[in-house]
Subunit: 317 residues, 2 copies
DNA sequence: TTATTTCGCACAATCGTTTGTTCTATGACA
DNA sequence: TGTCATAGAACAAACGATTGTGCGAAATAA
């Protein structure tokens, strides 16, 4: 096998040149599997997202992949299908593959399996959502603030009956947004009507079904606050099917700005999340933990401010 | 290390039970790195796409990941950034990581580096585009047919000056679509005006810039055929900025149906590609090559029929 | 009871790289 | 000229799983 190693730590002036030439000539690349076995590090990061087909996650995946590659790491992509037992399997799979670290957008509300997992020594960084009682660093949008911004706008436009179609109950991103929704109503002296808070996951179907139900109410809301891009997509479909127009008949504000948001039938007012910043910082925090560059007792808990993009999907009452 | 292997080929009735219990108890998972080194297979597939943030590719990535995982394979996700030298690097990286196979949505027009690469024994399957003079299997949409369907519709609606904003020149997907555009014009006795064929990549910016230029022409087109979802997004932005309406002022048809296509200001008529089918079959063809289940002299060259979804973005003239 | 067969386990080699140790040869200094 | 220091190269061990080989014990048959 010759000694293609000489290149690095014992530079023998002549030999190294010969070696380098030969290496180039035969297109030699070190076997990273063997390297991984010997070094007990694979320069590999596992990425688990609930739905890679969702633009929100695929945008972040892109940035994460690029930022990781810059640092010599490759990405194992895993889609948990928004299914908690799949997520558990994937964590074990990634552990068996000896990834150096994991970036996880967790699925469910329970954090036990993640806490348990993080004890095995593989660093984990959580994005998008956070787990309240863990020592796992996270980086998310300040969802509470985002919801407040959106609701302040809706109320400032004169709406008084505002529904909220929420995502998966119990997870931080959802709870913080709902809390922002409620607090803003209260701060504006509007009683919270819990029957106007509907929905139970972030998918398109939830938006569709719940919007239909909302519109059938005796006292339908004049505005809907959709807590994800897919929910608003479903709500738009329902509204469109009912022959109603946004914002003339009903107003809509969505979480997550999208490339097409400005180009919809009614350009959508959205809460934009800093996806790139979340992604880049998640990678960097993880790399710090992997390399041990930072005191691991410091648990980063970062919330990035979102930005309300006001377009034309909210009617002035 | 005990012998956790007994489980498989020499079942010692008592011992195996003990082992299995112990394995479960200590939460033992075989080290896949060591396994990979010994077996010279990693149960790993490399996936290279030009832009994972593009819904078209992220949808396929999702299906590819799920289908691969079903078969015990994990996915190395790589984004080539639509950059050919990045693509070359990624191929070498994946080779060094000893992936068992690669699914590649190639970037450029040249196929030399891919031909060269495929000689090293790692099976490659190409999606979305194909390389004319190679022995590499591919599976794509029948882009020619899709373009013909779209153009037939546009012409049937009475348009006579139809522009085409194309993507990356030279690659099969683009050339086939342009050929469909031209042939359909010819078949309908309309002379092809080459100055109406503009653009040079699949990005949003191309759509924006070229649509602006097209609208400034002395004899502007009454319809635009956009050869990708991003191009149509850019074109919509340009049209919207110009204060024009689709389809009243200008008609637009796009390749690639999107979740939001029906919900746009003007519900978009699109050519829908069977992304899931392409993804599933790509995985299966690759797995057949990896396992040697199929005669490798058979080079699959598969074109999936697209479907024209007629909505309301084309005006009847 | 002895011989033979078979079953099951222990042991060793292997994959390709890294890294620590040993060995040889060269050059310098006394 | 002899000794020592050191550079450079050869060698060996290790990472953890797989897999072939060899050996011991048990079981069956003579």
């Amino acid at each position: 096998m010759l000694n293609g190693k000489g290149e690095q730590f014992r530079i023998s002036t002549q030999t190294s040149e010969i070696i380098l030439k030969a290496a180039a000539e035969y297109n030699y690349f070190p076997n990273r599997i063997a390297r991984g076995l010997r070094l007990e590090k694979t320069e590999t990061i596992g990425l688990i997202v609930p739905d890679i087909a969702n633009q929100f996650f695929s945008s972040m995946a892109k940035t994460i992949e690029i930022e990781s590659r810059k640092n010599g790491y490759s990405i194992f992509l895993c889609d948990s299908l928004d299914n908690i037992s799949t997520e558990k399997e994937l964590l074990n799979l990634l552990a068996a593959r000896k990834v150096d670290g994991i970036i996880l957008a967790p699925v469910g509300t329970g954090s036990d399996h993640i806490n348990e997992f993080s004890k095995n020594g593989i660093p984990v960084v959580i994005i998008d959502r956070y787990l309240p009682d863990t020592k796992i660093p996270y980086i998310t949008t300040d969802n509470y603030l985002g919801a407040c911004q959106a609701m302040e706008h809706i109320l400032a436009m004169g709406h008084r009956v505002v529904a909220c179609i929420q995502g998966l109950n119990g997870i931080s991103a959802n709870e913080d947004r709902v809390r922002g929704y409620k607090d803003t109503l209260n701060n504006n002296s509007i009683a919270v009507d819990n029957s106007l808070i509907v929905g139970d996951d972030f998918g398109e179907e939830t938006g569709y079904v719940q919007a239909k139900l909302l519109m059938k109410r005796n006292n339908p809301p004049t505005a809907i606050f959709a807590l994800s891009n897919l929910i608003s997509l479903g709500a738009m479909r329902a509204i469109s099917e009912s022959g109603l127009k946004i914002p003339d008949d009903i107003s809509l504000v969505s979480f997550d700005d999208q490339p097409y948001s400005a180009l919809l039938a009614s350009p959508m007012t959205t809460v934009e999340q800093e996806k790139d910043e979340i992604a880049v910082r998640a990678v960097n925090i993880l790399l710090e933990r992997i390399t041990g560059a930072k005191d691991e007792r410091v648990i980063e808990k970062i919330m990035i401010k979102p930005k309300l993009i006001i377009r034309k999907s909210v009617r002035e009452m």
